[in-house]
């Protein structure tokens, strides 16, 4: 099992009332599996994803990625853990505006060598961005930007890919390309956790879970 989530809970305590974002959530994602977690806005999907990605420590429960709990690591090791074990794709792409396409992908490189560069170029070619290597994000369409973000997430070949509404800003064709890429990545033996509120992702999922008010609802 690549990802194991055990009874995690998360509460946000801001200036106002405390909000319970996740309540005793448990799930597993196996290698070769694309798991879609569906739910309306505010249901806790993004929180779940950030917890799984070693970015947000849950208050309760445990998360294991390839058998290792990232929250037991110090900050430096956890950063290295994220670089090696987890890939992120976000709805807002989060590309660095002043770096060109190739440098945006290479920003995630664990090893700063020619192999990383070759792999980055290979990925960009594969996603139809081979002729846009020197362009900055502002010169790309939203679909192209998401493909660059996808290439960045896949650069280190992480065992776990986390995607947060990756098709939220895309048209149908681009959404299909991205979802197909996620499915292909899962079928290459990796684990993919996709959180979305869109129905169109369901057809490509190996398994689907519903999240409502921080709790998993089994269909």
């Amino acid at each position: 099992m690549v990802l194991q989530v055990r009874q995690i809970g998360k509460t946000y305590r801001g200036s106002g009332k405390a909000v319970r974002a996740l309540e005793r959530v448990s799930l597993d994602v196996a290698a070769g599996e694309l798991l879609v977690v569906q739910g309306p806005s505010g249901s806790g999907k993004s929180t779940l994803l950030l917890c799984c990605g070693a970015l947000l420590a849950p208050d309760d429960g445990e998360i294991l990625v390839e058998g290792l709990s990232p929250y037991t690591l110090n900050r430096r090791r956890r950063a290295a853990f994220r670089a090696q074990k987890v890939g992120f794709v976000f709805q807002q792409f989060h590309l660095i505006p002043y770096l060109d396409v190739l440098d945006n992908v290479l920003a995630a490189a664990v090893e700063r060598n020619s192999a990383s560069r070759e792999r980055a170029m290979h990925l960009l070619e594969r996603f139809g961005m081979g002729d846009r290597l020197g362009h900055v994000p502002g010169e790309l369409s939203v679909g192209q930007r998401q493909r660059v973000a996808l290439c960045r997430a896949l650069l280190n070949d992480p065992p776990l890919l986390l995607a947060d509404e990756p098709t939220g800003n895309l048209d149908t064709d681009n959404a299909r390309v991205v979802l197909r890429a996620l499915r292909d990545y899962a079928e290459s033996g990796k684990a993919v956790l996709l959180v979305t509120h869109e129905e169109k992702a369901l057809s490509l999922a190996h398994r689907t879970l519903q999240l409502k008010q921080g709790r998993l609802v089994y269909p």
Binding site: A79, A80, A83, F88, I96, D103, A107, V110
Partner: protein, 418 residues
């Protein structure tokens, strides 16, 4: 991808913000370099002024020594020939006059030791027109006794209607050669104005002997004769001269009178001492001025550094805030705290290096343009290194807190907000 590549791309992308931070460093380094350079230029100027003063002192003493040497070489001295009953003990003593014909007697005697004589008639008189006391001094000029072509006369004859004024008179009345003035109802034209010669001489109005005799109602009379630059070849010369003169002019006595050379040497000694005192004063003034400038710099430089650090710190803080999303995603894809910290501080180092270099050049040019390039040492390696190092330290310290904030930023919070 290397951190430096990302850092440089970001600088080019957000030029205005970078320049705003850079300006703070450039200004602070410029002010510091300018202050130090100004202080050094001041030191060089001080050195040059004091050197010039020292040269002046050396020159003055050299002139003094030269005069002494010349007077010693020539062994010349002046003699005063007056009536034998004139004691010269009190200023109020009644003057006993000599006949003017004594001059001709002396000339005819052709005494070998006397070169020339200066007959004179003098009396202290009340100058009614100017309401002051002066000494009226009438003389026909020097009369050659021996070697008439040997020397240019020290005191020339004064034409009738003309006058030579001592320093105390022409300076106080503002009279210049060519000016006219009236003395006891008689008009004179200023023939020349004399430099300082001594207390008595400075208060003298010299006119022709004839005019003085008329004004004092002493026709054919003189007060005495000055035998000028008498030369003696042995120490007993003065006694011999006295005897010789007494033989020719039995109703007279001979007294020593200080020579012009001695007067001039005294003047030069005084001038040298004054110049030396002026050198000491200048030395003290420059030292005080430098101390004040140092004290001013001691306040100015830290103040400028603090303002620049706060300014740069705010700019860096704004930059970090502006890049929250970017920093969050870098953290999400595995950048460590240290790498993010280095990214921000690396930019501070670039700001420091550029700001130090530009500030150095700016500070030097800001002084070189008004003062002149020759007064400034443009390439001073220690100051260049200090500027660069100081600017880097300033920029790094100013960016430290924003960099720490960036490295500690919670990416989950930012990614959820954006």
């Amino acid at each position: 991808m290397r951190t430096t590549r990302l850092l440089l791309r970001e600088i080019f992308h957000r030029k205005a913000m970078f320049i705003a931070g850079l300006l703070a460093v450039v200004l602070s380094v410029g002010v510091a370099v300018g202050s130090v350079t100004l202080l050094r230029a001041f030191d060089r100027q001080t050195e040059s002024i004091l050197q010039a003063k020292q040269d002046e002192v050396k020159h003055a003493w050299a002139q003094y020594r030269d005069d002494v040497r010349r007077s010693m070489l020539e062994l010349g001295f002046n003699l005063l020939i007056v009536h034998k009953d004139q004691t010269l003990s009190t200023p109020d003593e009644e003057t006993r006059y000599l006949p003017e014909a004594h001059v001709e007697k002396l000339r005819r005697a052709k005494l070998a030791t006397i070169n020339h004589v200066l007959p004179f008639l003098q009396k202290r008189i009340w100058w009614e027109e100017k309401k002051r006391w002066v000494t009226l001094y009438g003389t026909p000029g020097e009369v050659q006794i021996n070697n008439p072509a040997k020397q240019v006369p020290m005191v020339r004859s004064i034409p009738p209607g003309h006058a030579s004024l001592g320093r105390g008179i022409h300076e106080s009345l503002g009279l210049h050669p060519g000016d006219r003035f009236v003395l006891t109802g008689r008009e004179f034209v200023v023939q020349d104005t004399r430099p300082a010669e001594g207390f008595q001489e400075d208060e003298q109005i010299r006119v022709s002997l004839n005019e003085a005799q008329q004004m004092l109602n002493k026709p054919g009379l003189i007060t005495g004769l000055m035998a000028i630059n008498c030369v003696c070849e042995d120490p007993r010369g003065l006694a011999n001269i006295r005897r010789a003169i007494s033989a020719v002019l039995p109703d007279t006595q001979v007294r020593e009178h200080k020579g012009n050379m001695v007067v001039r040497a005294e003047e030069r000694s005084r001038a040298a001492r004054e110049t030396e005192a002026s050198l000491q004063r200048e030395h003290r003034n420059r030292a005080q001025l430098r101390t004040r400038r140092e004290a001013f710099n001691a306040v100015l430089l830290p103040a400028v550094a603090v303002v620049a650090a706060v300014w740069l710190g705010l700019v860096t803080w704004m930059n970090v805030h502006h890049r929250r999303g970017e920093i969050a995603i870098l953290r999400a894809i595995g950048w460590t705290d240290g790498r993010v910290f280095g990214l921000i501080l690396g930019k501070a180092v670039v700001t420091g290096v550029l700001g130090g270099g530009l500030g150095y050049v700016g500070g030097q040019l800001a002084l070189a343009i008004p003062l002149g390039f020759s007064k400034i040492q443009m390439f001073e390696i220690r100051l260049i290194l200090a500027s660069l190092l100081g600017a880097i330290v300033l920029a790094v310290l100013a960016s430290w807190l924003p960099a720490l904030h960036a490295s500690r930023m919670d990416p989950a919070v930012v990614l959820q907000q954006e």
